[in-house]
């Protein structure tokens, strides 16, 4: 069926696919992309319907056409192309699967699966933790405006029957905070709920803001390898040039990393990547503060 509309309609529109030899396949392959694509769609479907197939399954089928070329960061910086050596790997489970609201799974959209989240949930299940109160989430779905989400999340509905779950309702949706970086031309927003811990957050932010620190990003002349070379990134940002700080509910600026992750996500109103020179005097009294408050 596809062939017939191809012939008639491409003629009509003046675009002759045959002339341009557009082939929907990887270089050197016959036309495998369709199959891979279907496979991907299949894995996406089963994933959405809740089947707990590992991400590696999805990646094996679709991984080739998404990740070849290598060093790019994922959307929101969440995926690492190096599955095996994922530096976020298993280290980030501290505090995140303690059962406080349960880990938030992020549902797979094929080009940007979240390897880490999936691993986390598998481990959590293995540990016999209870299933998460909220289900796997897809970015931007259901289509509810940020304003509404933020409004409902910040003041969860009071239910007579089930106060414990009140937080879990809209609160478990998402928690967008603004991230600014000294010198960057615009803010970003990140959803704290999708990170399991500080390492993931930090890594995601590095990827998001890397282009600002390495100068000539964005100009089309720069090769991708230079801009997003991960080792350079880490050197620059783990060097002493920048620190990550956050504004808490009292309006005070604190260094990120001193309090347990869960506590942090509850306190944090916005983030700022500050030049180290300016961050002198930010005492790590975060722990004390949060303790006295809660």
């Amino acid at each position: 069926m596809e062939k017939s509309y191809d012939d008639t309609n491409t003629e009509k529109s003046g675009l002759r696919l045959k002339d341009t030899e557009l082939r929907l396949g990887l270089p050197g392959s016959e036309s495998p992309e369709r199959e891979e694509h279907d496979q991907n769609v299949l894995s996406l479907k089963s994933f959405v319907s809740g089947a707990k197939r590992g991400f590696s399954d999805a990646l094996d089928g679709g991984g080739k056409w998404v990740f070849s070329g290598g060093s790019g960061g994922g959307s929101e910086g969440l995926f690492s192309p190096r599955r095996g050596g994922n530096n976020n790997g298993g280290n980030d489970l501290s505090g995140s699967d303690s059962g406080l609201g349960g880990p938030v799974l992020k549902d797979g959209v094929a080009p940007k699966p979240l390897v880490v989240q999936e691993k986390k949930s598998q481990v959590a299940a293995g540990n016999g933790n209870t299933a998460p109160a909220s289900k796997a989430q897809v970015v931007g779905w259901p289509p509810i405006r940020s304003f509404r989400k933020n409004t409902m999340a910040s003041h969860p509905p009071k239910n007579d029957n089930d106060d414990d779950n009140a937080e879990a309702k809209f609160g478990s949706g998402c928690l967008y905070v603004k991230v600014s970086m000294d010198g960057a031309p615009y803010l970003r927003k990140v959803d704290l709920k999708i990170y399991g811990g500080y390492k993931e957050l930090s890594s995601a932010l590095e990827k998001m803001f890397s282009c600002f620190t390495i100068g000539q990003c964005g100009s089309h002349g720069v090769s991708s390898r230079d801009v997003l070379s991960e080792s350079r990134l880490i050197d620059l940002l783990h060097g002493s040039e920048y620190v990550l700080t956050y504004e808490d509910k009292d309006g005070d600026w604190m260094l990120v990393g001193d309090v347990p992750w869960e506590m942090f996500t509850n306190c944090c109103k916005r983030l700022r990547i500050m030049k180290s020179t300016e961050a002198i005097g930010l005492a790590p009294r975060a722990m004390e503060k949060c303790k006295t408050r809660t």
């Binding site: 675009l15 996406l44 319907s49 056409w65 931007g140 309702k169 089309h220």
Partner: protein, 586 residues
């Protein structure tokens, strides 16, 4: 042979005639009659609407229409509302303000939607337009209360300051105190999206007192219930009122005070706000309910019985926004009480929960469709649907102009038959011949797109997610929907073929958004090359698309027609496919 017609009117006469023609479409038609009409018309056009701020440059607009008084601009694609457009994508209003500040000093009205507005822009507005009257910002961001303060302080003739769902940096600047004491022209004030900005109540009361033309006042959450009565008493002429927090300790005197204040507002037709509602205070609004035409309870976390009571007091309701706490039973009451209902929006109270927390199903929608003959516009979030219900709804409401259904779980089938919902949506497009806007959800195959392409001839905007099987689906839409202007698609298996085969169609539309689909980088380049009047933007945070094989699908694609060429304000993760082959990336 030169023939002078007896029917050439002087320009002033034509101008006068044209002044009765307000609609953009008609104005455009007028301007195409002949050169002299084009000239006359352009000098007397007062309002311009630019649906995509990158479709044209500010200079071009002002050059053609030098005497405009009102401009409306839209920036980011609609899916930006759902965080699908990364921050920094664009939509900056500043260049427009700069151009207009110089060339159109008599500008009175600026309306913006999904644009990035800075304090600098607001300050420039405040400084440049001496007769500035109306600022309407819808889903905008990038500014703080400081910028708004500049507007309040400088614009002596300001009538309207309307902030709808904006992301405003609250610097606790006591915005209202920046209106001078001599300022009295306020007609409409909407600060409902300001976060915790402490409002000085005395300042608010004085402002309300001296602005006797005030018709619309929408307060923010920071305004407590016990302040409402005073405000209402000072503004009994209000037509549209938005409360702040609708919660307080229940005290008989404050209740009767409030009820009395509401009853003094004989002109009140629209109510909104109602954050944190204490149900016992709701009856205070009963005195105004019989005349209410619009009610926004979409932040009111009250349960079905209270909602039912409230709704049954409002026989003249035309527009209702509510949470799904209303449940099917509440919607049945709505259907029997509110025969004039035209628009209904039901939002989910717990969209991320695994199990339904309320009993709201397709039945509620069917009930309303059956009981409300004037129903035209629906936005409905629910967890289950059936083809049977959709067909019933379609037959009941052939006058639908907007139908947006969101079944919360992607790819949910008909719960009764386990089939796709193709037939149900097919009925919608078949029976609702005037349908302008449609959003799909649930399990859908290419078949639904075939129906849409065949029947939805007046459809202007279509939103698609997690649907379809192949390029054929997209092809049906692009080749069949004659009136299509905006198409937004996410997570569908649509690839290059349909897009390339219907490339010409894209120039007849405002824009196309595709994310998490299967369009290759190569196709994007091809499209960019072949279609110089389209901007083909590849948005990809993984890094430059040329670092991957050309056959790799791009993450996000935004295509729009433009006469302004490529834009220059793109962030590092956006690439425009160039027309000039020599500038190709690979």
């Amino acid at each position: 042979m030169h023939k002078k017609t007896a029917f050439s009117f002087p320009d002033e006469v034509l101008e006068h005639v044209f002044s009765f023609i307000q609609s953009d479409k008609d104005r455009n038609s007028v301007s195409m009659v002949c050169k002299s009409w084009y000239e006359i018309e352009r000098w007397c056009r007062r309002k311009v609407f630019v649906g995509n701020c990158y479709a044209v440059s500010p200079r071009m607009v002002i050059k053609r229409f030098p005497e405009i008084r009102s401009i409306e601009l839209k920036g980011k694609p609609h899916f930006a509302d759902f965080n699908l457009v990364p921050d920094g994508w664009g939509g900056y209003v500043f260049p427009w303000i700069v151009e207009m500040a110089g060339a159109v000093p008599w500008l009175e009205e600026i309306k913006l939607k999904r644009m990035v507005v800075t304090d600098e822009s607001l300050e420039l507005i405040a400084k440049s337009f001496k007769n500035f009257k109306a600022l309407v910002l819808s889903s905008c961001e990038g500014f703080s209360t400081d910028g708004l303060a500049a507007i309040a302080a400088s614009c002596k003739n300001l009538k309207e300051l309307d902030l709808r769902d904006c992301d405003v940096d609250d610097l606790s600047g006591h915005l209202l105190s920046h209106f001078p004491d001599t300022y009295t022209s306020l007609v409409s004030l909407n600060i409902s999206c300001l976060g915790s900005d402490e409002v000085s109540f005395s300042t608010l009361e004085r402002l309300v007192c001296r602005c006797t033309n005030l018709r619309t006042l929408r307060l923010n959450r920071a305004v407590p219930l016990d302040k409402i009565a005073n405000i209402l008493r000072r503004a009994p002429q209000l037509v549209d009122f938005g409360t702040g927090t609708y919660a307080a300790d229940l005290r008989p005197d404050s209740y009767s005070d409030l009820a009395g204040a509401f009853s003094s507002c004989k002109e009140l037709r629209s109510l909104s706000g109602f954050w944190d509602v204490v149900p016992d205070y709701l009856p205070a609004i009963y005195p105004v309910c019989s005349k209410l035409t619009s009610l926004n309870l979409s932040y009111a976390t009250i349960q079905s019985p209270e909602l039912i009571k409230l709704v049954s007091h409002c026989p003249n309701l035309q527009r209702l926004l509510v949470l799904d706490y209303i449940e099917d039973s509440g919607l049945e009451v709505l259907a029997s009480s509110c025969k004039n209902l035209q628009e209904l929006r039901v939002f989910p109270s717990d969209p991320f929960g695994v199990e339904p927390n309320v009993s709201l199903t397709e039945q509620g929608l069917v009930a309303v469709s059956s009981g409300c003959p004037k129903l035209q516009s629906v936005l409905y979030f629910c967890r289950r649907m059936s083809n049977e219900a959709l067909v019933t709804v379609a037959k009941n409401c052939p006058n639908f102009t907007r139908f947006r259904l969101c079944i919360i779980e992607p790819r949910t089938a008909d719960y009764q038959t386990l089939e796709p919902l193709d037939v149900g949506f097919g009925a919608i497009v078949q029976y609702c011949k005037d349908l302008q806007r449609l959003s799909l959800s649930g399990l859908l195959t290419d078949r639904v797109f075939e129906y849409i392409g065949t029947y939805a001839k007046k459809l202007e905007m279509l939103s698609v997610a997690f649907a379809g099987d192949s390029d054929l689906g997209l092809h049906h839409v692009l080749s069949g929907c004659e009136s299509l202007r905006k198409l937004e698609i996410r997570d569908c298996p649509f690839g290059d073929k349909a897009l390339l085969a219907n490339a010409a169609k894209l120039e007849t539309m405002r824009s196309l958004w595709m994310s998490s689909c299967a369009v290759s980088f190569r196709a994007c380049k091809l499209l960019g090359q072949k279609m110089p009047r389209l901007n083909v933007e590849v948005i990809d945070e993984r890094g430059p698309p040329d670092s991957r094989p050309e056959s790799c699908p791009v993450d996000k694609l935004y295509i729009y027609r433009t006469v302004a060429g490529s834009r220059f304000d793109m962030p590092p993760f956006v690439w425009t496919m160039e027309d000039d082959p020599s500038l190709q990336l690979s």
